[in-house]
């Protein structure tokens, strides 16, 4: 066997950023050294060949998302980077506790604002931000949900600064996606790079489907002994259709579309070859406004007429509940540390990124005065759209952001630029640092379980801070080291 002539990590320099593989961590169990040495053994050329074969396999397997332009629909893979991101046991315990705390606070908040609204009366958060929020659903007022769980599936976007501090960047409490890639990346890794992983004890990620099904079974209407769970998808043209397929397979439940369901006498049925069959829990991957044309958008063909009425009658459970969008609003996000304190009487285990709320005069003034140094984000968008990164923007872009801010201040928040951590990533130039985030997934029925690790998204473009798949992001396998303690 010929050893590669040079160490692929020789030119790797994360600079001032925290590196998710190579920065010193007391409990990394020698993993970083092992991974670097093994990559050195494989050599850059072989690594590239295997990485490219792995991506071809993703295409053949149809592990893809669909990108729509005006004229066409193209199936694209989420580019896969074969160098793993490593989370140590102690790091994970902090993340896990922080995510659980956050989910508990989100659910308590939702329960409160759809009941007494104490948090508003007590002046912790402005009432118009909650009740005037476009995602607040008056239909949910005083509606009881089992175990007080509104957000059954939650994805929390976490970044890490130069000092290695984890911070929450965003909550996703509606229909967060990406978990399929967590599991598929691990499968791909173990098929294509078994030699990189050999002997390293990792927390498994295979349990997600079973945990999810168990939560969906827990939350079914009371008195149903063997509940029928289904996954409701907008169908094959949805960009996340692969994930819907994945989840329905992992749970072993039918993937249904709106037209497969019908509501009669406030009960939900699915259409089978043997006639109708009762449905008890719906994990829906359709947004609120398309769920039920009799309540929300009348033109929606994706939903099921009468679904909300059946739910309100307690004959079916929807996950996530309707109206959770108010909790993951980017303006509400700014209040999360106070929300956690208010309901749980605890400090946030995972801090927020400092946030200026432009609907508040001080926030707006500060933002306008410091546009060149801030990231300006619209509160209602997702997918990384509409963001202006001050230090990287042109003069014209800054002025455009300023005009948008002045025109509608309450649509915006701003944050300092976080020096996102990096991970060594295979590029055309060799192994180079690229910025990363992390989206752990929490599943909550009776209680909350967090999938070890999560989706590590990587901004493949040099220097880029935008990790979204729609904007040139890729992903990495996320290793949580198993040190035996939980």
């Amino acid at each position: 066997m010929q050893l590669s002539s040079s160490d692929p990590f020789r030119d790797y320099d994360p600079g001032a950023y925290f590196c998710e593989l190579t920065s010193q961590r007391a409990d990394d169990q020698g993993t970083a050294g092992a991974v670097k040495a093994r990559i050195g053994m494989i050599g850059l050329d072989a690594l590239r060949a295997r990485a490219s074969a792995a991506e071809t396999e993703l295409i053949n397997l149809g592990i893809t998302f669909t990108v729509y332009s005006e004229a066409s629909a193209i199936d694209r893979i989420l580019p896969f980077d074969c160098i793993p991101r490593v989370i140590t046991g102690s790091e994970w315990r902090q993340l896990e506790a922080g995510v659980k705390q956050r989910v508990a606070a989100l659910n308590a908040f939702l329960h409160d604002i759809y009941h007494a609204g104490r948090i508003v009366q007590d002046g912790v958060i402005p009432g118009d931000l909650v009740f005037g929020n476009s995602n607040y659903r008056p239909e949910m007022k005083d509606f009881p949900v089992r175990f007080g769980t509104y957000v059954h599936i939650c994805g929390i976007d976490i970044v890490r600064d130069a000092a290695g501090t984890f911070m929450v960047l965003e909550d996703n409490a509606r229909t967060p996606s990406g978990v399929s890639y967590v599991v598929e990346n691990r499968h791909l890794m173990s098929r294509a790079f078994p030699d990189l992983m050999a002997g390293i004890r990792l927390r498994p990620v295979d349990d997600y489907g079973r945990r999810l099904l168990s939560a969906m079974t827990d939350i079914a209407p009371e008195g149903v002994s063997d509940p029928q769970v289904v996954l409701l998808s907008p169908g094959i043209y949805n960009s996340a259709y692969f994930e819907h397929v994945f989840l329905s397979r992992e749970m072993g439940v039918p993937l249904v579309e709106g037209a497969d369901l019908t509501v009669e006498d406030d009960r939900v049925w699915m259409r089978t070859t043997a006639g109708r069959r009762a449905v008890h829990t719906i994990y829906r991957r359709i947004s609120d406004e398309f769920l039920d044309p009799t309540v929300f958008r009348p033109e929606s063909m994706l939903g099921v007429p009468g679904l909300l009425s059946a739910w309100r009658r307690g004959n079916v459970t929807l996950a996530n509940a309707v109206g959770t969008g108010v909790a993951d609003d980017k303006a509400v996000y700014a209040y999360m540390p106070r929300i956690i304190k208010y309901y749980l009487n605890e400090d946030a285990i995972l801090p927020n990124v400092e946030t200026h709320i432009c609907r508040e005069p001080e926030g707006l003034a500060y933002t306008l005065a410091n546009l060149e140094n801030l990231v300006v984000k619209p509160v209602g968008e997702s997918g990384g759209y509409g963001i202006t990164i001050g230090p990287r923007a042109t003069k014209a872009q800054i002025e455009a952001a300023r005009a948008a801010l002045v025109a509608d201040p309450s649509n915006w928040i701003s944050q300092p630029v976080v020096s996102l951590s990096v991970g060594p990533t295979l590029t055309e130039q060799g192994i180079r640092p690229r910025h990363l985030d992390l989206r752990p997934f929490a599943v909550t029925g009776r209680e909350t379980w967090v999938l070890p690790g999560g989706l590590s998204r990587v901004a493949l473009k040099e220097g880029s801070l935008v990790v979204n798949s729609s904007q040139g992001g890729g992903s990495k396998d996320t290793w949580v080291l198993d040190d035996g303690s939980r």
Partner: protein
């Protein structure tokens, strides 16, 4: 594992049509291949136009601006994605159905179809020339056969499998009648020994296209006639592509759906199958031929359309709010 899982009506429909479209792709490749061997010098265009007639595609063939020559017909079936009965459109439809069925079918089935579909998109006009045509036909056949093998070895045999098989068998029976009908549309010398030899050559090619030549030679009487070939393709229940075997298997599948899965909607479909069987076995093939083979085959094709309709009504369509607009249809309906 005794847990009985329900089958979504939409999945049943998707399985039925996925199998059907793939069977159609394989048979089209067989038909194209055999047409090539029928080409007689100076008469190429006629042989190829016969293929269009067999498939009852004259109208769309001319509407899509094709002219009567060998190249046009080959392009119409192998390259023209706008031809609803051609290979690209059928493969596209099969993959579309497979995509909706991904929660149900095996990963291996999906992966193969995905790759097969992509390979077939790369067929170029040059590939249809000379000996390359036969190679392309073989690749297409083998692609579907690989699908069949993967399905046999990996697809879970619950209700869905029965609908899958029904779709495939209805299409296969239909395609065998079309293959048989090829003789009706082809010109042969008017009389005498020359006619007898020409006919036997053509029937030999038909048998080869159906992968039945050697089996036929084993079971055929020494001085066999064209009638024996027709009888073999229509009624020999040991031959996988015979109409009678397909019908026999459909009957078994429908019976299983009824007894194993308690599907009560099988009654009308089973009646259709009985009629089909009676038509095939009720009288000697010589009489069928004497009364007009072409008319008989037309009748079988119509019965198969009605049978597919009964299955659709019982298990797929009445559940669909926009059944008429959305349902897939047998585009070959004569």
């Amino acid at each position: 594992m005794a847990r009985e899982t329900p089958l979504l009506a939409r999945y049943a429909e998707g399985l039925f049509w996925m199998a059907r479209y793939l069977e159609r792709v394989e048979n089209l490749a067989r038909l194209v291949d055999v047409t090539q061997t029928f080409e007689s010098p100076g008469r190429e265009a006629e042989s190829w136009l016969a293929l269009v007639r067999i498939n009852a595609d004259e109208e769309s063939f001319f509407k899509r601006g094709h002219s009567v020559d060998a190249d046009s017909v080959k392009r119409f079936y192998l390259l023209d994605a706008g031809n609803a009965t051609g290979i690209p459109a059928s493969l596209e439809a099969a993959r579309y159905n497979a995509r909706t069925l991904r929660p149900l079918i095996s990963t291996e089935m999906w992966m193969h179809l995905n790759v097969f579909h992509r390979d077939m998109l790369s067929i170029a006009p040059d590939d249809l020339q000379g000996d390359r045509l036969s190679r392309i036909c073989r690749r297409i056949k083998e692609g579907v056969q690989t699908h069949t093998g993967i399905t046999e070895g990996t697809f879970f045999r619950d209700q869905g499998w029965f609908f899958y098989q029904l779709g495939r068998l209805i299409e296969r029976a239909d395609q065998t009648t079309r293959l048989l009908d090829i003789r009706y549309h082809l010109l042969v010398p008017v009389a005498g020994e020359e006619r007898r030899v020409a006919e036997l050559t053509q029937w030999g090619a038909v048998l080869r296209a159906a992968a039945g030549y050697h089996a036929f030679r084993r079971v055929a009487p020494p001085g066999f006639t064209p009638d024996d070939v027709v009888a073999f393709l229509l009624t020999d229940t040991a031959f996988p592509r015979s109409v009678a075997l397909c019908v026999e298997q459909m009957e078994w599948l429908l019976g299983q759906l009824r007894s194993r899965y308690g599907l009560r909607g099988t009654v009308a479909a089973l009646e259709r199958v009985e009629e089909l069987r009676a038509g095939l076995t009720g009288r000697a093939v010589q009489r069928i031929i004497a009364e007009g083979l072409h008319q008989f085959l037309d009748g079988v094709q119509r019965d198969l359309i009605l049978l597919a309709g009964e299955i659709g009504t019982a298990f797929f369509r009445d559940w669909r709010p926009l059944a008429e607009a959305q349902s897939q249809s047998q585009t070959q309906a004569a």
